[in-house]
C-alpha cells in the first residue's frame, strides 16, 4: 500500500493533534477534594457528663435537631422534627405531632419517648428553658406543659440554651434523664465518632440524615479543635492548622475578633457574616447615682458617636443609631426611634449635675470590647464626665457585676435569631439577676405584654410599645449591631448560614493534585 502525500499530511495532523491534546490534558490541574474539614472553636463541646451542659453551637446544630425553629424574617416558629402543633389551655400546653420515619444516627427511630427523655433532662434540672412537664400521648404525639401562658414556651423549645432531641441511648443508664452523657446520638447531619475533652471532637456524616434530605456529604470527617484564646485561633487559621473559624456567639464572647476581620480578608481568607438581632450596649447601673437619673442616661446616649465605633471594626458591624435592636428585629423599624449624637445637649446635662468619678468596667478577655470601651471613655470625657475605665479579668468582672460595684459596663442585648425572645426575658423581665439590663414598671409591663402575646401581628405592635418605653427611659445606650461571622480558608466552599448558625453539611475543601 502506497502512502500518498495527502495521507501523510492527514496522519501527521492527527498524530500532532492527539499529542497536543494529551499534553494539554496532562497540564490541566486535576481538582480534588480533601476528606476533612477542621474547625477552630473556642469552647469544649462538653460531650461527656451532664447532658444539659452540651455546648451551644456545634453539637446542637450539627448533631441534634429541634422540634421547631424560629424564623426572624417572618417572626414565626416553624416546623422541624415536629410536623404541626396545637395550643391548648391558653398556651400553657402545646401538643406536637412528630414527623414519622426520622432516624437517629444509630438507626433507631426518633419518637415521642425520645422527645420526652430529652426534655426531661431539662425538667429534672429545673433548667431555665425547661417546660413544666412532658407527656407522651402516642408514639408520634407529645404534649408539653408550662407554668406560664406566653410565647416564650415556643422560644424555649428552640433556644440555643436548650437541647435538640437526642436518643435515650446517649446516656447511661439508658433513658435516665438524670444519667450521664456518654455518646451523643442525634438526628442531625453529623454523628460523633470521637471526643477528647478540651482538645477535639471528630464528627462523621449521619447517612440517615443525608438519605432523608437527598443530599450527598462532601466531606468524610468534620474535626472541631478547641482553641480558647481568640488570637491563637486566628493564628491557627493563618498557619493552616484549621480550615474555618466560627463564633460561639451565645453569650457575647468566644468569637473571631471583629477588629481582625479586615486583615484576614486582605490576606485572602473568606469572611462570611450574617446580621443578627444582637446589640452591644453600654449598660447602666441604674439603681444608684448618677445613672438612676434618666437625664444622665440620655447624656451618655447623646455623647456616643456610634459611627466611630463601627469604624474600629472597619464597618463589619452597623452603628446602632436606629434603635436598641437592628431594624430586622420584629417591630423595630416601625418603632421609629433614633439615637442622636448631640454633644452640646450632653454637655448641658452633665454641667448641671454634680457627678463624681464614674466606674466603667469591661471584660479584658474581649479585645473588641476593650477597644470600644476605650473609645466610649474618651467620648464621655469629652462631655465632662470623669470616667475611670477598669479593664478586668473575666472572673473579677463578673464579681463586680454581681456586687453592683460599677456605674457603666459594656454588655449586650438580643442574640442569635433563636435567642432573641428569651433575651427579652433575660434582660428586661423579673426576677432581678446580674444579667438583667434595665427594668422599670413601664418597661417591664411592656416587655411582659410582648412575651404574653401569641398573635404575631398584635405582638409586633407590643414590641413597638416596648421599644418606645425603653427608648424614652434611655434604659440602654446602644453601640453597634453585631453579626455572626465565619472566617474560612480560600479553598473552603459550601458553608452556609441557617437561622444564624453556620452549617457544614454541604461544605467541602478544595485541594489541587
Amino acid at each position: 500500500m502506497r502512502l500518498t502525500r495527502r495521507d501523510f499530511v492527514k496522519f501527521t495532523g492527527i498524530g500532532i493533534s492527539t499529542f497536543l491534546g494529551m499534553s494539554l490534558l496532562g497540564c490541566t490541574k486535576k481538582e480534588t477534594f480533601k476528606d476533612t474539614l477542621v474547625i477552630g472553636y473556642a469552647d469544649d463541646l462538653k460531650l461527656r457528663g451532664d447532658p444539659a451542659k452540651i455546648d451551644r453551637s456545634i453539637p446542637k446544630f450539627c448533631v441534634l435537631e429541634r422540634l421547631i425553629e424560629y424564623d426572624l424574617s417572618s417572626d414565626d416558629f416553624v416546623p422541624s422534627l415536629a410536623k404541626k402543633w396545637e395550643i391548648e389551655n391558653d398556651g400553657k400546653r402545646i401538643v406536637f405531632e412528630l414527623r414519622k420515619g426520622i432516624l437517629f444516627s444509630d438507626g433507631t427511630e426518633m419518637d415521642a419517648n425520645a422527645v420526652k427523655f430529652t426534655y426531661d433532662i431539662l425538667v429534672v434540672r429545673k433548667h431555665s428553658v425547661a417546660p413544666k412537664s412532658v407527656e407522651v400521648i402516642d408514639d408520634y404525639t407529645v404534649a408539653f406543659n408550662f407554668d406560664e401562658a406566653w410565647v416564650l414556651n415556643f422560644a424555649k423549645l428552640q433556644d440555643v440554651h436548650g437541647l435538640g432531641v437526642m436518643s435515650p441511648k446517649s446516656v447511661e443508664p439508658e433513658g435516665d434523664p438524670n444519667g450521664t452523657l456518654v455518646n451523643l446520638i442525634g438526628t442531625g447531619p453529623f454523628k460523633v465518632v470521637e471526643y477528647v475533652e478540651n482538645q477535639y471532637t471528630v464528627l462523621e456524616p449521619n447517612r440517615y440524615w443525608f438519605e432523608r434530605t437527598g443530599l450527598e456529604p462532601k466531606i468524610k470527617k468534620l474535626i472541631v479543635k478547641v482553641i480558647p484564646d481568640e488570637d491563637t485561633r486566628v493564628l491557627a487559621l493563618r498557619s493552616g492548622e484549621v480550615d474555618v473559624l466560627i463564633d460561639n456567639y451565645h453569650g457575647g464572647y468566644d468569637y473571631t475578633p471583629r477588629n481582625q476581620l479586615s486583615a484576614l480578608k486582605r490576606d485572602g481568607f473568606k469572611v462570611l457574616t450574617k446580621n443578627i438581632p444582637y446589640t452591644w450596649i453600654v449598660a447602666f447601673n441604674y439603681k444608684k447615682e448618677p445613672f438612676n437619673d434618666v437625664e444622665m442616661r440620655w447624656a451618655v446616649n447623646y455623647a456616643i458617636n456610634r459611627d466611630e465605633i463601627a469604624k474600629i471594626f472597619d464597618e463589619w458591624v452597623r452603628p446602632a443609631w436606629d434603635g436598641m435592636f437592628p431594624p430586622e428585629a420584629p417591630g423595630m423599624a416601625e418603632a421609629n426611634v433614633r439615637y442622636e449624637y448631640y454633644l452640646e445637649k450632653a454637655r448641658d446635662i452633665v454641667s448641671g449635675k454634680d457627678v463624681g468619678e464614674i466606674k466603667f468596667i469591661v471584660d479584658n478577655s474581649q479585645s473588641d470590647q476593650v477597644l470600644v470601651a476605650q473609645l466610649v471613655q474618651q467620648q464621655l470625657k469629652d462631655v465632662g464626665l470623669n470616667v475611670k475605665l477598669e479593664t478586668l479579668e473575666r472572673g473579677v468582672y463578673r464579681d463586680r457585676v454581681r456586687s453592683g460595684d460599677y456605674d457603666l459596663r459594656i454588655y449586650y442585648i438580643g442574640g442569635s435569631e433563636r435567642t432573641f425572645y428569651m433575651r427579652i426575658f433575660w434582660r428586661f423581665l423579673p426576677p432581678e439577676k446580674p444579667w438583667k439590663v434595665y427594668m422599670s414598671d413601664n418597661v417591664t409591663e411592656k416587655a411582659m405584654a410582648v412575651v404574653k402575646e401569641f398573635d404575631k401581628t398584635k405582638r409586633r405592635q407590643k414590641f413597638v410599645e416596648f421599644y418606645k418605653a425603653l427608648y424614652e427611659e434611655a434604659g440602654v445606650a446602644p453601640l453597634y449591631y453585631e453579626v455572626v461571622a465565619v472566617v474560612e480558608k480560600p479553598n473552603v466552599e459550601g458553608v452556609k448560614f441557617e437561622y444564624s448558625e453556620p452549617r457544614f453539611y454541604s461544605a467541602y475543601v478544595r485541594a489541587y493534585a
Partner: protein
C-alpha cells in the same frame, strides 16, 4: 569626705567609662522623654477615628494606633509608666533582698539555712513563669492593677539581691574592721547597717542597674500577655500587644514600643556593665 570621694569616682571613673556614658545617656534620654511627656506630647488617651492607623508623619512621628491615638504620646507616656514601675520594683526588691541576705549571711546557722532554702526554692522556678502565675492569682483575687503587678514581680525579684548580699556579707563578716567593731562591743544591727551593708553596696548597685533591664522586660512581657498594666494606661508591652494584630498593616504600632523596650534594656545593661568595671576596680584598689 565620703561625698568628696564619691563625686571624684563619678568624675574620674564613671564618665570616663564608655559603657557607662552610653548607657547613662540612653537612660537619661528615655527618662527625660518620660518626664517631659506632658510638655512634648499630646494626651495619650485622645482618640480620633479619622486618624486611625496612620503611618509615621510630621504630625504623628510614630504614627497612630487602631483608635487614632498618637503613638508618640503613648510611647513617651509609657516611658513614665515603665520606668516608674521598674524603679519601684527594683527599690523594694533591693531593700527586702539586701536586708534578708545580710541577716542570713551575718548571723549564719539555722537562720542562714532557712533563708538559703527559701532562696533555692525561688531560684528553682523560672522567674517569668512564676510572675505570670502570681499575676494570674492576683488578677482573679483582686483584679488587675499596677500595684498587683509590682507586688507579683517583687515577690520573685528580691531573691537575686538576697543571694548576692548574703555572699558578700559572708566574706565581709570575717574582715578585721567587723571583728574590731565586735571586739569593742558594737551591736549587730549597728555593725550590719554601719559597716557591712555600706561595704557591699557596690555590687548591689551593679545588680540593681542590671536588674532594671530585666524588670522592664518582665513588665513588658506581662503587658504583652495581657496580664500587666491594663488599657487604656499606656505601657510599652501592652501597646506592643495591641499592635500585634496589625503587624502587616500598621507595623509602627509594634515597632516603636519594641524599640523603646530594647533601648531601655540596652541602656541599663550598658550602665550596669560599666558600673561593674568601675566599682570592681575600686574594690580591688581598696
Amino acid at each position: 569626705m565620703e561625698f568628696a570621694f564619691a563625686s571624684e569616682v563619678f568624675r574620674s571613673r564613671i564618665f570616663k567609662n564608655n559603657l557607662c556614658t552610653i548607657g547613662f545617656g540612653i537612660i537619661l534620654f528615655i527618662a527625660m522623654l518620660g518626664l517631659l511627656a506632658p510638655v512634648i506630647a499630646d494626651d495619650p488617651y485622645k482618640t480620633n477615628l479619622a486618624e486611625r492607623l496612620k503611618p509615621p508623619s510630621l504630625e504623628h512621628p510614630f504614627g497612630t494606633d487602631q483608635l487614632g491615638r498618637d503613638l508618640f504620646s503613648r510611647v513617651v507616656h509609657g516611658a513614665r509608666t515603665s520606668l516608674f514601675v521598674a524603679m519601684t520594683i527594683s527599690l523594694i526588691s533591693m531593700a527586702i533582698g539586701c536586708l534578708i541576705g545580710a541577716v542570713s549571711g551575718y548571723f549564719g546557722g539555722i537562720i542562714d539555712d532557712i533563708i538559703g532554702r527559701i532562696i533555692d526554692v525561688f531560684l528553682a522556678i523560672p522567674e517569668l513563669v512564676f510572675n505570670i502565675a502570681l499575676v494570674g492569682i492576683f488578677c482573679v483575687a483582686y483584679g488587675v492593677s499596677t500595684w498587683n503587678v509590682i507586688l507579683a514581680v517583687v515577690i520573685t525579684n528580691w531573691v537575686s539581691y538576697a543571694r548576692i548580699t548574703r555572699g558578700i556579707v559572708l566574706s565581709l563578716k570575717e574582715k578585721e574592721f567587723v571583728l574590731c567593731a565586735k571586739a569593742i562591743g558594737a551591736r549587730d544591727s549597728y555593725i550590719l547597717l554601719r559597716h557591712v551593708i555600706p561595704n557591699a553596696i557596690g555590687p548591689i548597685i551593679v545588680l540593681a542597674t542590671l536588674n532594671m533591664g530585666n524588670v522592664i522586660m518582665t513588665i513588658a512581657s506581662l503587658g504583652f500577655l495581657g496580664l500587666g498594666i491594663q488599657p487604656p494606661t499606656p505601657e510599652w508591652g501592652q501597646i506592643l500587644n495591641s499592635g500585634k494584630n496589625y503587624i502587616t498593616t500598621a507595623p509602627w504600632i509594634t515597632f516603636f514600643p519594641g524599640l523603646f523596650i530594647a533601648l531601655s534594656v540596652l541602656g541599663f545593661n550598658l550602665l550596669g556593665e560599666g558600673l561593674r568595671d568601675v566599682l570592681e576596680k575600686r574594690t580591688l584598689e581598696y
